[in-house]
């Protein structure tokens, strides 16, 4: 039960955090210059966007939940299960970020979910 709760936190908080971070990075704009100083400037710009801080806080909660569940379960079980955030991510991308998720992408996400189910059953 505890393991399931921690995995739930990893998935929901992690996905929510990533969506907020994406929103922040989209407002920063496309990056074309990859020199260290330019990258540092982009990151410093991103840190001024409030969505970035909300996202990072949620990702921190997901990170500590991940550490907790890794103390109980094998990494080769935990990490594939967290692939459930692909389904949550496609939904979030569509409804929160306004991305056009094509039928092909939905099909891919569905296959990923079937794979996660097999991993879960393989452990039981």
């Amino acid at each position: 039960m505890l393991e399931a709760f921690l995995l739930f936190l990893v998935v929901v908080s992690g996905t929510g955090g990533e969506i907020c971070v994406t929103r922040a990075m989209k407002s920063v704009g496309e990056v074309d210059d990859f020199r260290p100083l330019a990258v540092a400037r982009v990151i410093s710009h991103a840190l001024k966007v409030s969505w970035m801080w909300i996202g990072v806080s949620m990702m921190a909660l997901a990170f500590f939940s991940l550490l907790a569940v890794l103390s109980i379960e094998n990494v080769s079980f935990v990490v594939p299960i967290t692939a459930l955030n692909y389904a949550a991510g496609a939904l979030g991308g569509k409804f929160f970020l306004g991305e056009r998720v094509t039928p092909r992408r939905w099909a891919g996400v569905l296959i990923v979910c079937v794979g996660v189910t097999l991993v879960w059953l393989g452990k039981r």
Binding site: V21, M25, V39, L67, N74, A90, E99, V101, L110, V119
Partner: protein, 140 residues
Amino acid sequence: MTSSHKLHLKTYAMLLIMVLFAPLGNVFLGKGMKNVGSAVSWSPSQLLHILSLVLKSGYIWLGIACLLTFFVAYLLILSWADYSYVQPTSSITLLVVALLGYFYLGERIAPLHWAGIIVICLGVFVVGNTPPRTTGAGAD
């Protein structure tokens, strides 16, 4: 070089960094947390004790460094590519994690478990051929 070609090139370069560093980070965290052990109770003193062990673990710090590298690549790619493209495509990391868990950590992985990971990767390939951007300027 066309702008579309350049877009794909920098997308694949960032994906490669993500695919290498995310699994390494997770495996180091897993190894570190197995050394630390799980909490016997959820009392504040027990959690503080666990936290102090976590902060002293070299594997945990190594894992955090790898995940930070992954995160920077992730931030950069998200500035131009769709989240719903990047996230499934980077799930190839799941296969790399399982391989590292099996060979490096000696974890037992059942055939059904392997099948599940392969099905997940199949899902990744289905998603991988969709355009990386569907919003804003330059959408394919």
